[in-house]
Structures are given as structure tokens and as C-alpha cells.
Symmetry: C2
Subunit: 460 residues, 2 copies
């Protein structure tokens, strides 16, 4: 099989043995060498198709690698498996400023896409911490979210076209750069968020928006969750289409984020229960600032909020957003940091978080609980500080966080996917009928089970 692969795409593109020494499965464990049968590096879609045809014939299981920033083990690889790395599919093929689309190969890094859009006075709104490493193919396969979903949607909403190679090497080209296409099943939806289990994404046409000319932000303090929700609705109505971020940070998290060793000072006093960080993106810096200011003044007068402070400069904006984005501060204050990414109906979040945080610290081995998240999307991240890596402890914490979600219609994964880490908890989010239908899709599209095998679901 390796000989056939070398014949098909040339030996420099087929790494085996010692050549894997510098390869790894995750960006957080770059010093651990990859253990795999081979690493195959196609230079284009046709080569990938040729590779998959050979692998399919040999029933060779493959794992697809992009930027390897996935948080649920989706890039993990067994010794008997082969890695296909899309690093050479790294070209931005076109930007169309009137259609407001960009056509990219799947190995292009998210930040390069953002920068290229910016150079054309456009914005690719997707944004999250790993943008400097994450490749767009993986971003789409994960249906990544981030900080501006409330206005611009998840990745799914930003993908107009896809090119995908199926398990048997068939190339599915749905690369139109049109916004509307109701000509039959919208096939690209199958592959977005499928974590590489149904096909390998090779190209995408992305939707861009006009670059905003203003950015305003404020921190706002609350002691009651009901008022956070009322304020969210009030600001969304008042800012109309301009609201682009609405993040909630719970008191203990805020205090850690704004106390040494963090280099950020607290923009508001540290004694409140909740802190909202809001953002608007608009067309006129002064006018949009006045608008936010006047809305905050009304909210103060109406006792909807307890205190508020607006960013008055670019350095204030950076200060405010560093607080929210620098999750590293929390991580370093933990013995072992345990991350969650759950989703639930917005009105239930206040009580759910209170309940989890109160219970989790009663577990022997848990130091603290740090909740924060994209509240307007119903998406909460927790970081739970535990004293060791004991699997029993990990499982106990997982169960505590995940179990209540079933009854209240929540999800064990809002943004990060299932991969291998959350597979055991999938039945909390999904019914047996849904999981059966997922298996049917997997079996139909990849009957030999060669693509990212054992990720999301196990076939019987």
C-alpha cells in the first residue's frame, strides 16, 4: 500500500519511520512524537482523491490533520492508522469583494483568512483563541463558534461552498459562491461539524462581511441573573443590528482574571456576582459610542444594572478583551484545569451554574470552579480546578456537569465537538434514535469506516 501511495503522489509526500519524529497529534503535546503507519501529505485535491482510493481499497483507516488545535481528541491517531495532513493545501485562491466571498484551500490558517479579508476592507467574522494555528478545514469540520456568534453565526453560517473528498476518493465539488441554492439537498451541511468522519474537506468558499468602522465595548456589573437577561434583551433591542458580543463572567472568574498574577486590573470593583462584557461593531466610532453610553445610562437609571464602564480608547478595548480572552490566567491558577463547553436554554443558566459550582467544590479533589461564557448564545465554559489527573475524579466531575443537561435540553458540546473525549456523554445530548441515524449516515457515506474512525460514534 505504501508503495502504491508513493507511486501515486511521489515519495517526498509519503513519510514513514523516522520521518514521523517531528510530527505530533496535538499542538499542546508537540514533544510527543506521532505514532502512525505513515503521514501522507497531498498537494492538491486530486492527490487526496488518489490517496483515499488506495486507502479505501486496503480498508486503511486514516486520521485527518489540520492545525491540530481540536479540544476533544479528534486528531488522535492509532499506530495502525495513517495520518493525512492537509498542510500543503494552503492557498487562498480568490477574494471577490462584490460577492464578498473568499475561496480557500482547507489548510489555510484562520488568521491568514482574517488578515486577507481585512486587506480588502472586509471581515471574516469567525474568531477564537487558536486562530494562529487552526486551519479552516478543521474549523469547518468542527463548526467552530467563538466570540461573535450572536451576530454572525457559527462556522456553518459562514460557509457558502465546499469541496469534499469522500471515503472512496469521490470528489464532491459544491464550490459555488452564491448565498442561496435550493437545488436539492444542501450536501455541504453534512460535512460541516462532522469532525472529518464523513469526508475530507479540501476547499471552501467563505462568506465575508463589510469591515466595521467602529468598535465599542463596556463592562457591566450585576448581582442578579434575571437582570443580566433583561439587559441582554434591552441592549440587543437598543443596539439593533450592531451588537456583536455579549459575554458573561461570573464573580470568582472575574476576580481571578483581574488579580495578580494577571497583569489586567479590574475595570469594575470585584464584589459583584456577574460581569457582562458587551461589544458593538458599527460604522461611526463617536456616534456608536454615544449610543452605547446612552443605553447604559438608561439601564443604570432603571436599576437594570449596578455599574458600568465603557472602553474609551483602543488600549481600553484591548484591556477589556484581554481579561475575557486570556483564559491562561485561570489555567495557571489551577493545579489541573478541566474545561467544559456546555449549552443550555438561556433562562436556566443562572441556576444551573450556581448549582454546579456549589456541588463541584464539595467533591474531594476539586479546588474551585470558574464559569464564564457566551451567554447570549446559551453557551457556558467552565474551568474546574482539580488536584490531580485521577480518572475517577475526572469522571465524577464530568457526570456532575453533564447529567443535568439531559432533562433541560442542553448539550455536552456547544462548540468543541465530541471527538473521543466526549463520546461517552453523547447520549446526554442525543436520543438513541438520533444516534442510530448518525450511524446510518456514517455507514452510508463511509461503509468501510476508514475516516476518523471511532470519533463521535463507534460503529457496532
Amino acid at each position: 500500500m505504501i508503495d502504491e501511495l508513493i507511486k501515486a503522489i511521489g515519495s517526498p509526500s509519503v513519510l514513514v519511520g523516522d520521518a514521523l519524529k517531528d510530527r505530533y497529534v496535538h499542538i499542546w503535546s508537540m514533544s510527543d512524537s506521532l505514532s502512525a503507519k505513515a503521514v501522507i501529505i497531498p498537494k492538491n485535491t486530486e492527490e487526496l482523491s488518489a490517496i483515499l482510493k488506495i486507502c479505501h481499497r486496503y480498508s486503511q483507516k486514516v486520521v485527518v490533520h489540520g492545525g491540530k488545535t481540536n479540544l476533544v481528541g479528534s486528531t488522535e491517531c492509532k499506530e495502525s492508522e495513517m495520518v493525512i495532513s492537509l498542510e500543503k493545501l494552503n492557498q487562498i485562491e480568490e477574494i471577490d469583494v462584490n460577492s464578498r466571498t473568499m475561496t480557500v484551500q482547507s489548510g489555510v490558517i484562520l488568521e491568514h483568512i482574517q488578515n486577507h479579508a481585512k486587506e480588502h476592507d472586509l471581515l471574516f467574522p469567525l474568531n477564537f483563541g487558536a486562530k494562529g494555528s487552526a486551519q479552516i478545514g478543521g474549523v469547518i469540520s468542527t463548526n467552530a463558534g467563538g466570540l461573535r456568534v450572536i451576530r454572525f453565526g457559527m462556522t456553518r453560517q459562514l460557509v457558502l461552498g465546499l469541496e469534499v473528498v469522500l471515503a472512496d476518493g469521490t470528489i464532491i465539488n459544491s464550490m459555488k459562491k452564491i448565498i442561496k441554492d435550493n437545488s436539492g439537498y444542501d450536501l455541504k451541511q453534512l460535512f460541516i461539524g462532522a469532525e472529518g468522519t464523513l469526508g475530507v474537506i479540501t476547499k471552501a468558499t467563505l462568506k465575508l462581511v463589510e469591515a466595521p468602522k467602529s468598535r465599542n465595548s463596556a463592562f457591566i456589573a450585576f448581582n442578579e441573573y434575571e437582570k443580566v437577561m433583561a439587559f441582554m434583551k434591552f441592549m440587543d433591542r437598543g443596539l439593533a443590528g450592531l451588537m456583536s458580543g455579549f459575554e458573561l463572567i461570573w464573580g470568582p472568574t472575574y476576580n481571578t482574571m483581574t488579580s495578580p498574577p494577571s497583569s489586567s486590573k479590574p475595570p469594575l470593583d470585584q464584589h459583584y456576582k456577574y460581569y457582562v462584557l458587551i461589544e458593538s461593531l458599527g460604522s461611526d466610532q463617536n456616534k456608536d459610542k454615544e449610543q452605547m453610553q446612552s443605553l447604559l445610562e438608561s439601564a443604570l437609571e432603571n436599576e437594570m444594572i449596578l455599574d458600568a464602564v465603557m472602553a474609551n480608547s483602543v488600549s481600553d478595548l484591548n484591556w477589556f478583551w484581554t481579561i475575557r480572552e486570556d483564559v491562561h490566567v485561570i489555567k495557571t491558577s489551577c493545579d489541573y484545569d478541566h474545561h467544559f463547553d456546555v449549552s443550555l436554554p438561556i433562562p436556566l443558566i443562572g441556576n444551573y451554574v450556581d448549582d454546579i459550582c456549589q456541588k463541584v467544590v464539595q467533591i474531594d479533589g476539586v479546588n474551585a470552579c470558574y464559569p464564564f461564557g457566551h451567554i447570549a448564545d446559551g453557551n457556558i465554559h467552565f474551568i474546574i480546578d482539580r488536584i490531580n489527573e485521577d480518572p475517577v475524579l475526572i469522571q465524577e466531575i464530568n457526570k456532575l456537569v453533564y447529567r443535568p443537561l439531559k432533562e433541560i435540553g442542553g448539550s455536552v458540546s456547544a462548540e468543541h465537538g465530541i471527538g473521543v473525549h466526549k463520546k461517552a456523554y453523547l447520549p446526554i445530548s442525543r436520543s438513541p434514535e438520533e444516534i442510530t441515524l448518525m450511524k446510518l449516515l456514517k455507514k452510508s457515506l463511509d461503509p468501510k469506516g476508514i475516516l476518523n474512525s471511532g470519533k463521535i460514534i463507534d460503529l457496532d
Copy 2:
């Protein structure tokens, strides 16, 4: 089989023989009685599941009926088929003002959903002509678009949860009212826009937005398509998130829409080549009006536009939008009206439309060509006036309009779907590999081919 159905759901819910007299396949042909084996009217999801189990066992083909407003023959029915009407699944189950969601059964009429949202100071942004009859199950099955897609997206973007019954009666409940859920494949995407061929939608959780407090509109005149595009970008940037509509009407269409027998007068002189109708939805009527006014003044100064007039009152708004929405005026001026709904990259639309309109009137039997559409979505509707219903003439016109779309990456259906009317032209929008994958999905989910058989694709 009929006996079993009666036993399962009671005889009043199973109509046969004379009871079909008042039934029809389309709202435009209510006087033509439906010809079908039976009409089955389930009262809830469980009854529908029981019905499909029986039909599946007998390999009985079924056609699903909602509001019967579909424009591509998706509700057409053969004598050997059975109709399942979802008219009794007509309850709004819940509205959640903080989650900003509404949970509805699939037989609820779109306008009722809009009104119910409005009563709670929320907006369900989907809007189109047939809203008074279209039922939400059909709307979702068609992935309907309409006038505000540029800001709020197609139906797909407004569906958070779905309940679907599969061909074999299995109930798939994915009814969460959460915005983000990356726990495995996003199954609901399969059924949105599938025209009832993969499952029958019984319930949906819809996404609502805060009701806007201002609405502003203007008509703007152009003679060059390039300037229409530049203006679209300019206004989108200037209005930031507030732009909610950007419609283009070509000169001949505008003239017909604003001349007797139309009761609408022209807001701008009739001698221009293009007319844009723009809309913003915001939070402050006066401020938002001033903003649009000042942007239009800049555009005039920069010679981007030739003339513009803003709506100064609610009656002006109604006047302006009646012009755009009252397509009936065009229809009555035609001998026979032939409608199109194509999609293509925005920069190519100007030349494409010029070319089609020039060529189509050279066909013997064509009187005139009326283009208009959702230009910011890349979606153009044509109404072509022909002298008769001759299938050869129809085919000649279809070929002229559709054929150029393949090469330029367009679609033969932006909003309306494929149904039976556009089936012959599907290969213009989709590659053989894509159509093969559609067939694979159909065979996997509905192996006996009982659901809306022969719609979108034919199985071999």
C-alpha cells in the same frame, strides 16, 4: 391498509372517495379536486408515526401537504399515492422571550407565527408573499427565503430544533431550544430544504429576534450595474448591522409596477435602468432615518447614485413595498406568466440579465421580460411574458435562462426548490457526483422510496 389506518387513528382522520372532493394539490388550483388513494390527517406526531409505519409496511407512497403554496410542484400527487395533511398539527406550543425561541407544530401558518412573536415584542424575520397560507413545516422543507435574507438568513438559519418522522415511522426528536449544539452530526440540516423526501417535519423550534423599533426605506435610481454594487457595499458598511433589505428592480419591471393598471405611482422618474429599494430596521426612527438620509446624500454627492427618495411616513413605506411585493401587477400584464428564481454571483448579474432579456424577446412567442430580485443575495426573479402554454416554447425559454448558469456557478433554484418542475434542470446546478450523493442519502433514509417520491430526484 385503509382499515389498518382507520384502526390506528380513527375513521374521521382517514378520508377516501367523495370526501376528497374539496381537497386540492395547490392553492392556485383549488377548483381541481385532488385525485389520491386517501387523505390522512394525523392529530399528533404519534399518529403520524403510526401512519408511516403502516404505509412503510405496504410500500405505500405518500405526499405531504401543508399550505400547498409550493411553486415547483412538490405537493403534486398521483392517484396511487396517499396524501398526509398536517393541518391538525397547528398549535404554537411555547414562546420563550429570554431564549427568544418559539416552539411550533408544523401545520402552523407563517403569519400566525409572525403575529405571535410580535405580541411578545419579538420578530420572526422570515417573510414572503404566501405567509397567510404557507405552513411552517413546508416553509422549512423548502428552506424558504424572502425579503430579509441579507440580514436574517434563509429558513435554515432560523431553525434551532426539529422533530421529524422518518419513512419507517421512527420519530427523531431534535427539539432543543439552544443556539449551539456540536454534539455529533447536526441532523436537522438533512431535513431542512429536502422537500419532504427524507422525513416528515412535525415540530420546530424557531429562532426569534428582538422586534425592531424603526423601519426606513428609500428608492434609488441608477443607470450602471457597477454602481448598484458599489452602493450596496457603501450602504451595508454605512448602515452596519441595520440593513435588512436590498432589492433591485430593472427599469421595464419598475415601469410596469408603477403605471396603470397598477395603483402605485412611481416614487422616482421612470427613465432609469435600475431601481434599488433599500430597508433598514433599527432602534430609533428619527436617528435611523437621519443616518440613511445622510448616507444617500453622500452617495449623491459622490455620483454613486442618480436620484433617491426616502419614505417619510408609514404610508410611504407601504407604497414603496407594495410596488416591490405586488408581483400580481406584472402577472396581469402578461398573456402567460413564466416565473424564474435563479441565483448567481452578484458581479455577474448585470450582464447575465441584459443577455437573457435581449435574447428571450427574440424567441417567437415571448412578449417581454421582467427581471427583479434580492440582488444582495445574488437571487434574481424573472417573469417572462409568453403568448401560450406550448411546452416547446416553455422549454426553449427555460433552456435560455438556465443554461448559462452552469458555467458561472449559478443555481436554477435559489429559494423555491426543485420539486418536479425543475428536476430536468438539476444537472445545471449540481454535478453528477452531487446527484449520486443525493440519491445515496435518499436510499439510506427512505429505502422503499415512499416519501414525496419523484420530487427533486428520481431513483433508478
